[in-house]
């Protein structure tokens, strides 16, 4: 999947992956896609909850070799 920006939250724990994802989205345009990499398994539920509450769209959420990969499209 194509993306416009990437943020690596590997090693960070709750709530940093979410807060820093939000900060990464700030300077992006509506419709652009942010790819987030995380190692915190709690981020899987939290990233969906973040999308639900902020109106951004979680295009995909997958696991690859112990890392969680998210594609978040800005509202």
């Amino acid at each position: 999947m194509n993306f416009d920006k990437e943020f690596d939250a590997s090693g960070l724990n709750c709530p940093l992956p979410i807060i820093k994802t939000k900060k990464s989205l700030v300077d992006m345009e509506s419709g652009q896609v942010l790819r987030v990499i995380a190692t915190d398994c709690g981020a899987v539920k939290d990233m969906q909850a973040f999308a639900d509450q902020t109106g951004n769209t979680l295009l995909s959420s997958t696991e690859e070799g112990g890392k969680y990969i998210f594609f978040m499209q800005k509202k």
């Binding site: 724990n13 709530p15 979410i18 807060i19 939000k22 902020t54």
Partner: protein
């Protein structure tokens, strides 16, 4: 959609109890909430410029996981509090949990409003110059003016 609001009352000044208000406030701000935190009694210690005196005590804290079981008589010994604090901070760093300073900065960056209880400042004769400049001083009425209109209000 109207902006959601959250109010937190932070009354504890230990390392373990400092995390919930800062984590919830910074996260809620990231979700678009307008957030205010009212720091009163021991919670006021969390507004000090220097947070290195914020500690955790194993005493009267039986739920705290310890590497080896430790009788209360041992927990009372001098230096045990500093040791427990050092171990807890190492654990937090190892697991990628933000420091209190970092979480507090994230709150300030996201415009979380900090209100320091003026009565507590007077009561303990605190020197305001020891607290961060970004806090306002107020009382229960100031806080309730905001809290009365929130979606979430928590006492920590």
């Amino acid at each position: 959609m109207a902006t959601k609001k959250m109010a937190i009352i932070a009354t504890k000044g230990t390392l373990d109890m400092a995390y919930p208000p800062f984590i919830l406030a910074s996260t809620a701000a990231a979700l678009g909430y307008e957030v205010q935190v009212f720091f009163t009694f021991y919670g006021l210690q969390l507004l000090r410029k220097d947070l290195s005196d914020v500690k955790i005590s194993p005493l009267a804290n039986p739920a705290m996981p310890m590497p080896v079981p430790m009788p209360v008589m041992v927990q009372m010994l001098p230096g045990m509090e500093s040791m427990a604090t050092m171990m807890m901070k190492q654990k937090l760093t190892k697991h990628g949990v933000a420091s209190l300073e970092e979480l507090r900065d994230l709150c300030l960056e996201a415009d979380v409003k900090f209100i320091a209880c003026q009565m507590t400042v007077d009561l303990f004769e605190f020197d305001k110059s020891e607290f961060i400049e970004q806090c306002e001083y107020g009382g229960a009425t100031t806080f309730l003016g905001f809290a009365g209109d929130t979606d979430i209000c928590l006492f920590v």
